[in-house]
Structures are given as C-alpha cells and as structure tokens.
C-alpha cells in the first residue's frame, strides 16, 4: 500500500479508510473472543477463568509469604516496617484462603463435576459466571487497598477488638470486610449451584453409590459452604456496622463480648478448612485408584467419612480458641469433638493406602502428587491431633508450630491435591499431555522446598518463635531454623519454573492426549479431549462405579441383554461418538451476570463511605437482576450441534 504513489486527496482517504477497516476487522474476531469469555456460560470455560484468577492470586500471595520469610531470615532484621509486616501476613492469609484456595477448588468443581456425572453443564450456567465475577471483583477490591496504602492488618481472622474502629482506625479492615462480603455472595451462589447440579443432573443410573469420589466431595463441600458462609457474612456485617455505623456488637464498654466475633468466625472458619481440603481428598481418591488400576478400597466408608466430617465439622470450631478462657467444660467438649473428627480423616488415609496395596502402581506425575499429599497430610494431621488437647495447645498456640501445622494441611493437602488434579485433568481440558519429566521436577523440587521451609518451623515454634510478630530476639537462638525456612521459601520460586516451562511448551506443541490417556474409570474420560461444548454426544447410562473399566453399555444393548461383565481392564471401553446423533441445545451467553456483579462491586465500593455510590450500585444490580430474569436461558439461533 505504501509503495503506491499517492493520488488526489479522496484517493488517499479511501486508502486510509480501507486500512482502518482492515485493522478493525483484525480486531473484531479478537474482541469477539474476549466478549465470548466475558459472557460465557460454559462450565469448562468458567473453570479455566477460575483457574487463572486463582493461580494469579496464589502467586501474589506466595510472594507475600516469601517477603515475610525474608524479614524473618535473621533475628532483629528491619527489612520490613512492622506495620507493613502485619499487612503482609494478613493479605497473605486472606488471599490464600479466599482468593486462591476457594477459586481453585471451584475451578476443579466446574471442570470435573459435570463431566463426571454425565451432564452437559451445571444446573444454572449464568449463576456460575456470576459467582466467578464476584470472586474476581472481591479479590480486586481487596487489592485496591494496596495502592491506597491501607491494606488490612488484623490477620486473616480479624479478631475484635483489635479490628474495631478504635484499634484499627485506617481503612484497611473495611477493605477486608467488604471484599469478603462481596465474594461471599458469589460463593454461596456457587454452593447452591453445585448442590443442585450434583443432585439433579446425574446421568441415568448414576446413583449415589456410583458417584465418583471427587463429585461426592464437591457435594459435601457445597453443603459446607451453604451452612458455613452465612455465619461469616453475619459476622462481617456486624463488624462493618460496628466500624462504620457505631453499633456495639463487639464493644465491651457497651456490655458486648468481643469474643463473639471469634466464635462467629470459627463457626465458619473451621468448616472452611474442610472446604479447602476435602476437594483435595476427592482428587486423591480419583488419582490413586486410576494409577493403582484398582477401585478405591472401601468406597462407601470413604464416602461416609466425608459426610461425617461435614457434619462434625460444625462441632469443633472452638478448638481454635482454647486459650481464651472458655472454661474447662467447653474446652473438654470441643477437644473431644476434635479428636473424634480425626477418626474419619484417618479412615480415608488408610483407604488410600489399602487401595495402593497390591495394585499395579504407575508412578506418573499426578500419582506422585497424590502420594505426596497423603504423606504430607499425615504430618499435618498428626501435629493437628497434638493441639487438639487443650494443655498442649496452650503451649503451641500462636507459635510457629501452628504455622507449620496449617501449612502442612494447606500446602501438603490442598496445594498438592490441586497439582495432582492439574496434571491429571490437564490433558482432558486441553487435549495435550504435560511432560512427565518436567512434572516430576516440579514435584520433587516443591516437595523439597516445602519441607525445608515448614519442617523447621515445628522446632522453632516449640522453642518459642511467636507467630505474627515481625521479628524475634537473637537470644532465643532461633536464627538457624529461621534461616533454613527462609531458604526453603526462596526455593519455591525455583520449584515453580518447571511448571511454567511445562505449561508453555505443552500448550505450544504438546503431545495429543486422546480421550483416556490414563486408562481412568470415570465418565469424563469417555468423551473427547478437550470435550465438545456439549460434553456428551449421547447421554451416558451408568451401571457401575467405574464405567470405563467395563464395556460401556448402550440402552439398546441392555434391552437386548447382549452384554457381559468383564473385570477391570478386560475390555476396551467404548467412547462417545464423534458427532451427536441429534442436535444438542446449549444455553446462550449472557451479559447480565457481569452487569449484576459490576453493580454489586460499585455498591461495595460505596460501602467505604459513600451512600450515593452504594445506591447507584444497587440500582445497577437491580437492572442486572431484571435483565437476567427476563432473558431466556436458551435463545433463538443459539443452539449448537
């Protein structure tokens, strides 16, 4: 175009217009892609969105953790200002739990659950997207406090009266309260969505005793979410009002008891830790049988102990509060309940071990992570049973022993489980196999970094290293342990490199995966990798707990009676046909979830002190709600084949 001699003015204008048009056209498809992702209702895409947002926050919070470790590398360092230190551990804990951990487990629910139960999507696809928007907006809102220089600094459990206006006069705790209120709404919506999905959208024949373990845990966790988040919401509401509207819920001077906050928080907080760890157990219960080529040992017992944990999980909250002086009776009751809940947890561990016993083990990357999970969780579980006893806990509470304990369950349990799931289901999601070699590097390096960081904390903690304190005197003699911990924290960064390289290389030119690369037994492996938009060309009929380890039976054949039982691995499972025999109608994309969540975000911003903003936000929310309610889920011409 440039080489053409310029003619008169109008000709040049034409040329410019043509170029602008061409540019516009180049952008259009890209814009369309962005718009598609912003309005999508496909559970597989929403899963990817959840995964990316959760991973981003995991990295940020991980860096915060490393900064904390830098400050603690030696005694009496002054790298971080004490105030900043408080802000960092608060942001680290809050982000990890609410904006990394929760979104990541929900990413897995989203991707795996509909595929495992033979459904084409979740029960409420638009609600699903709404939950994601709120999770992201909640995180962004929390981090808006960073440029404003007023990050929350009251710890992730925000104990009153420390977090009352009087002792936390800055804006920080308001960011905490509002961000978690906002995200909490989305989380509860997600809980409703998954309960209904799992109860209602199971393929014919998928009875409760045939439900894959991961889906079982997703159901249990969704119930926990539904029952645990409301008390937290109420507690946050009280705190919001105490801080901004002068109420007295946690004001001892008005006759209130600030301890109430601790109770409300842990009524939520303890189930919350099960919310985080049970999905990881679910992943282990998928991965271990697959790579042992053996059905899960004692399946009903594992299911039952999961349900029992969900129920008992509400009766142990005060073991986080042994030191506050509840009295011997309350302490004993809660200690007893806590030791009781260790029983179903232990049962699960024995079942995994028994599954591997005598199996045809294949030590693939996902299997390594799962075995890592079992062994690391045992360590975290054992230290947990130790401070289930109040006298012991009085020695250990608020020391690094506790920090070691909960990182063994959160990293050793949750994060290891998430990585096991990532290597396991990545081929299903993308159609490409991650490199096993790099995956193993990732595993061994992480295992090393993790233990180097957190194992010494058991000792430094027992020797008196205080938690949530920006430094310690050199007379404590803890410099050695702390230095090791800090070096380990740095190693986490190194351990991450193989993962990034692996993802990068695999996404560019990884080996194609095929429908069932691991020879796994559950339904998600019967459809394409990546699965088509509608997941299943024909709705599967389930007759067993591990359908793909048996010949897959079609309705006609069942009626004709010409099928036979074959043991595990006996006959190649039949896969889904390439094309759907009949047109499949899928729900259409929608802007309304986004509109509504933007409205709620604006209303939340107004919560920082502007009633007008809140009202504007509420109005937008209402518009979004009505737009959503009046928009048919399936619209003309939106059917897919």
């Amino acid at each position: 175009m440039n080489s053409q001699p310029a003619g008169d003015r109008s000709e040049r204008l034409d040329g410019l217009n043509a170029r602008a048009r061409a540019m516009g056209q180049a952008w259009k498809p890209r814009l369309a892609v962005v718009a598609d992702w912003m309005t999508t209702v496909d559970h597989k895409k929403i899963a990817i969105l959840y995964f990316l947002s959760g991973m981003t926050f995991l990295l940020i919070a991980g860096m915060e953790g490393q900064l904390i470790r830098v400050q603690l590398a030696q005694s009496e360092l002054r790298i971080l200002d004490p105030n900043l230190y408080n802000q960092l551990f608060t942001m680290h804990g809050t982000t990890m739990v609410f904006f990394a951990g929760m979104p990541l487990i929900i990413a897995y629910f989203n991707f795996v659950v509909p595929l495992q139960i033979g459904a084409r999507d979740v029960a409420f696809p638009r609600l699903n997207m709404f939950s994601w928007w709120l999770a992201v907006f909640g995180g962004l809102f929390l981090y808006a406090s960073v440029p404003l220089g007023s990050m929350p600094d009251g710890g992730w459990f925000a104990y009153t009266p420390l977090t009352n206006r009087e002792y936390s006069p800055g804006r920080g705790m308001d960011f905490y309260v509002l961000a978690l209120l906002l995200a909490g709404v989305g989380t509860i919506a997600g809980g409703v969505n998954f309960v209904v999905t799992i109860l209602n959208l199971r393929a014919p024949g998928m009875t409760f005793m045939r439900l894959p373990l991961f889906t079982w845990m997703a159901l249990v966790v969704s119930i926990l979410i539904l029952l645990a988040f409301p008390p937290f919401t109420v507690g946050l509401l009280f705190l919001l009002f105490d801080r901004n509207f002068g109420t007295h819920f946690f004001d001892a001077a008005a006759g209130a008891d600030p301890l109430l906050w601790q109770h409300l928080f842990w009524v939520f907080g303890h189930p919350e830790v099960y919310i985080l760890v049970l999905p990881a157990f679910g992943i282990a219960s998928e991965v271990i049988p697959t790579f042992s080529r053996k059905g899960l040992f004692g399946y009903p017992v594992v299911v039952f102990s999961g349900v029992l944990i969900a129920f008992l999980g509400f009766g142990v909250w005060a073991h986080h509060m042994f030191a506050v002086g509840m009295g011997p009776l309350a302490n004993s009751v809660f200690a007893g309940a806590t030791m009781l809940i260790a029983v179903p947890t232990g049962i699960k561990i024995f079942n995994w071990i028994a599954t591997m016993w005598g199996g045809k083990l294949r030590f693939t990357t996902p299997m390594l992570w799962a075995i890592g999970l079992v062994s690391m969780f045992i360590i975290g579980g054992l230290s947990g049973v130790m401070h289930a006893s109040p006298p012991t806990d009085l020695q250990q509470t608020d020391t690094y022993f506790i920090v070691a304990h909960f990182h063994y369950v959160l990293i050793g349990g949750l994060v290891f489980g998430l990585f096991a799931g990532l290597y396991y289901w990545f081929p299903k999601a993308t159609g490409k196999m991650l490199s096993d070699k790099l995956g193993k590097w990732h595993f061994w390096l992480t295992l090393a970094a993790f233990n180097i960081t957190f194992f010494p904390m058991h000792f430094s903690g027992l020797l008196g290293m205080p938690r949530r304190t920006f430094t310690y005197p050199s007379e404590l003699g803890l410099d050695g342990f702390n230095l090791v911990s800090t070096i380990g924290a740095g190693l986490f960064t190194v351990a991450f490199v193989p993962l990034i390289v692996n993802l990068w290389k695999t996404l560019r030119n990884g080996e194609p995966a095929g429908a069932n690369p691991w020879g796994a037994p559950t339904l998600e492996w019967s459809t394409g990798s990546p699965p088509p938009h509608y997941n299943f060309a024909v709705v599967p009929r389930v007759q067993r707990r591990d359908p793909l380890w048996h010949p897959w039976i079609r309705p006609e054949e069942e009626e004709a009676g010409d099928h036979e039982d074959a043991g595990p691995g006996g006959v190649e499972p039949r896969l889904q046909p390439e094309v759907a025999p009949e047109p499949v109608v899928m729900p259409s994309n929608s802007w309304w979830p986004m509109v509504m969540s933007i409205g709620m975000l604006i209303a939340t911003v107004g919560g920082l002190g502007s009633l007008e903003t809140t009202l504007v936000g509420a109005a937008i929310t209402l518009v979004g709600l009505f737009g959503w309610a009046f928009e048919p889920a399936f619209r003309d011409g939106a059917g897919h084949l």
Binding site: R120, G191, V234, G255, A256, L260
Partner: protein, 190 residues
C-alpha cells in the same frame, strides 16, 4: 433448564430454592444467636421492656400470617389456571407484605423518637440488625411478588409460571416462618 428430567424428580429451580432456604436458616440462626447471647446485657437505656409494644406487633404479625395464606391460595389458583384470582391473591400477598413493612417502619421510627438510635446501645444494635435483615427479606419478597403480579397480566399460565409462583411462595413462607420465631423470641420472651 436441561432437556433431561431431573433424576430426583424435583425441578432445578425448586431444589435451588430449598437449598438456599437451608442456607438462610444459618443466616438467621446466627443473628438470633447474637440476639439471645446479648439479651439482658444492655448497660444503658432504653431497655427492651420499655419499648416493645406487643399488641401493636401482634397486629403486624397477623398481617404477615394472612399474607402467607394469600400466597398459598394464589398458588392454588395458578394451578387451577384461574388468572384473575391468582393475580388478585398475589397482589394481596404483596400488599399485606407492604403493610407489614410500613408497620416495621413505624415501629423503628417510634423507637428512634424514644431515643433508641441504631448506635444507642447493645439492644439497639442487635434489635435493628436482626429485624432489619428480616425486613430486607420481606422487601425483596414484595418486589418479587409485585413483578410476578405485573407479568401475569399476559401470556399463558404454563407449568413454568406455576413453578415460578410456587418458588416465590416458598421464599415468602420461609420469611413468614422466620418471623414466627422472631415474634416469640424478641417480643414475647422479652
């Protein structure tokens, strides 16, 4: 939603509403617990027994109860395909809900005049937040029912719409049931 019949035989939206109601139980339980834990720990006046007006609140309680009756009858009319009656009863439900809200507004206003601002004492904090949360639920219900009333002016009365009214009804009755508890715990056991 999906073209398959749900395995449980209960349609998605209805199951979702019940699930949500299960969750709401915890919301109100927490608010009620707080009220009960703090009862009688108020340090400065006005105190509950000086303000709470049982005869007045009995009337609004009765109003809310009658709105629940209208609601269940509106659903019955929907199921018989009687549009006029269904609309009238929906309207009545929402209107009675509104009367309840006006009563609550009057009550709050009166308390305020008696010196019980939101930030006055422990009683004001717990009382306003607990009954206010309930009131917000009633308000949401009134808006929902009014929308249903307006939308029912045209279009067929099909299974989908009957179900919508049924679900709105579940929500409405639940909010009424919560009030039954609040009425006893706050006003009668004061």
């Amino acid at each position: 939603m999906s073209e398959l019949a749900p395995v449980t035989g209960i349609r998605n939206r209805k199951l979702a509403m019940w699930t949500f109601i299960g969750s709401e139980c915890m919301l109100f339980a927490t608010l009620i617990s707080t009220y009960m834990v703090y009862r009688g720990r108020n340090l400065i006046g006005p105190y509950p027994h000086e303000l709470l007006n049982v005869p007045f609140i009995t009337v609004t309680t009765f109003v809310l109860l009658m709105s629940s009756l209208c609601m269940v009858l509106a659903l019955a009319a929907m199921q018989q395909g009687n549009r006029r009656q269904a609309r009238f009863r929906l309207f009545l439900t929402a209107a009675l809900g509104l009367v309840f809200l006006v009563g609550q507004f009057y009550e709050f206003n009166h308390f305020h005049h008696e010196g019980l601002g939101l930030s006055r004492n422990l009683f004001s904090s717990t009382f306003y937040i607990l009954t206010g949360t309930h009131g917000a639920h009633v308000l949401g219900g009134v808006i929902w029912l009014s929308t249903l009333f307006l939308r029912l002016g045209s279009g067929p009365i099909d299974a989908e719409r009957i179900e919508t009214v049924e679900i709105a009804g579940l929500y409405w009755h639940f909010v009424d049931a919560v009030w039954i508890i609040l009425f006893t715990l706050i006003y009668l056991l004061a």
